[in-house]
């Protein structure tokens, strides 16, 4: 997804950009310790807040890039026509739910809040298989190792032969937003161009094309 955005940007402006993909925690630590990075895009508000607190990101150059929704996916085709809450409250003894780490990975943190909101966490907590990232949770459903996984809507759409049960109600968890920001106190012209590009309509339609929701003001 981000690769495509970068290609669009390079075609439009003639600048060239290098992308380094990794988890938010690792990238934020690298940035905090002075890694030569111009723009940071994260799925994790906590780490962006942290970089702001240590002065590596200026709040003036920070903006929400995209939104997402939390989804329940299943390896059982029949779950497709059932409701999220029905599926989660009528599990068999051996059924498990894969999630990102509920204490550390954003999708896991949102998922735990959502399950608590629905009053299901107490019953489900012992069935939860926590993985180091949300894609690994999705893979477990893909392999049929767990019946269910709590993932992002965009993940659910990206993986064939994984069945989307449904989305969690938006009010069940904090709004999911991916923050982006220019790194450092005095961004270069090229960096600012990229920031402008990321907030453009062209980027918005690209993001929608990949299933990312709009950002609410």
């Amino acid at each position: 997804m981000f690769d495509t955005l970068v290609q669009d940007f390079e075609a439009e402006t003639g600048h060239s950009a290098q992308v380094n993909f990794a988890g938010s925690a690792l990238l934020a630590r690298q940035i905090e310790l002075g890694a030569p990075v111009d723009v940071f895009v994260s799925a994790n508000q906590q780490w962006m807040d942290h970089l702001e607190a240590v002065g590596r990101v200026d709040s003036a150059n920070r903006f929400p890039l995209a939104g997402n929704r939390l989804a329940l996916v299943s390896s059982f085709p029949e779950d497709k026509s059932r409701e999220v809450e029905t599926v989660l409250s009528s599990l068999e003894a051996a059924d498990r739910v894969a999630m990102g780490l509920v204490a550390a990975v954003p999708a896991g943190q949102y998922g735990k809040v959502a399950l608590e909101y629905l009053g299901l966490w107490g019953d489900l907590r012992d069935r939860v298989v926590q993985m180091d990232n949300v894609r690994a949770a999705l893979t477990l459903v893909h392999l049929g190792e767990t019946r269910l996984a709590v993932v992002y809507e965009t993940d659910a759409e990206s993986q064939p032969d994984v069945f989307l049960v449904g989305l969690f109600p938006p009010e069940s968890h904090p709004r999911i937003e991916y923050p982006a920001a220019a790194v450092g106190q005095s961004p270069t012209k090229a960096t600012l161009d990229f920031i402008v590009f990321l907030q453009s309509d062209a980027t918005k339609s690209r993001l929608e094309q990949f299933g990312f929701g709009p950002v609410k003001p």
Binding site: Q46, W47, A103, A104, G144, E145
Partner: protein, 231 residues
């Protein structure tokens, strides 16, 4: 010490110790057999066995973990069969032990192989000419001469099992109280800003366990050496 660590961290320490202990114990006989076959026997497919034994050393740990999931998961070829007889590995501490054992296996094989290759075959021949049966030669000459290698292999494997992360998290997940070992707990702690102190405590414990095991094995190796020279 129990107040020093949170219950979650304390559990991770216990699980790590349990996983590393059983992983090391379980692979010792298998690694011994593999090393013995590679050094002493001639058979077709020897190169393949050698390659397979070293595979976990070469592959990225997440790939090894993923292969374990494909083989030993509930939907896996071997995992499905094990489940029928009541053994479930995926997402249990036993699965973490399997992952740690597989990752440590090549280290154990290498150490045993080296010690076996270093044995002067004439010592065994001499024992045989003096009337010892092959089993007696094996038990009273070969195995005692391998003790330093056995100790090295054990300590290397234990250390590897204690620090294993990639294959463990892929195959056994990161479930607090069940499969969350010290490395996976450290990883989880480092994902959230401001938890560096807790992570540092676990690092200190991890290093202490590994060093204690190292000193113990060094002491045992010295004793074994003295006894061998005394013979």
């Amino acid at each position: 010490m129990q107040n020093w660590l949170s219950p979650m961290e304390w559990q991770a320490v216990l699980i790590s110790a349990k996983v590393a202990f059983w992983a090391t114990l379980a692979i010792t006989p298998m690694a011994f057999l593999t090393a013995y076959a590679l050094v002493r026997w001639e058979f077709p497919g020897k190169t393949i066995l050698n390659g397979l034994a070293h595979l976990p050393l070469i592959l990225p740990p997440v790939v090894t973990g993923y292969m374990l999931l494909l083989l030993f998961g509930t939907q896996g070829f071997i995992g499905g069969w094990l489940q029928d007889i009541g053994i479930v590995l995926a997402f249990r501490w036993t699965g973490a032990a399997v992952a740690a054992g597989v990752m440590a296996f090549p280290l154990m094989v290498r150490a045993l192989r080296l010690s076996l290759e270093a044995i002067d075959i004439r010592l065994e021949q001499a024992a045989a000419t003096l009337g010892a049966s092959p089993i007696w030669v094996f038990a009273t000459v070969t195995v005692p001469l391998m003790i330093p290698g056995l100790l090295t292999g054990t300590i290397l494997s234990f250390a590897k099992a204690l620090g294993e992360f990639g294959a463990t998290i892929t195959f056994a997940a990161n479930i607090p109280g069940q499969t969350q070992t010290i490395p996976s707990a450290i990883y989880a702690l480092l994902q959230v800003p401001g938890q560096e102190d807790a992570a540092a405590r676990l690092v200190v414990i991890s290093v202490s366990i590994a060093l204690a095991a190292l000193f113990l094995s060094e002491a045992l190796a010295r004793r074994a050496h003295k006894r061998l020279e005394g013979l």
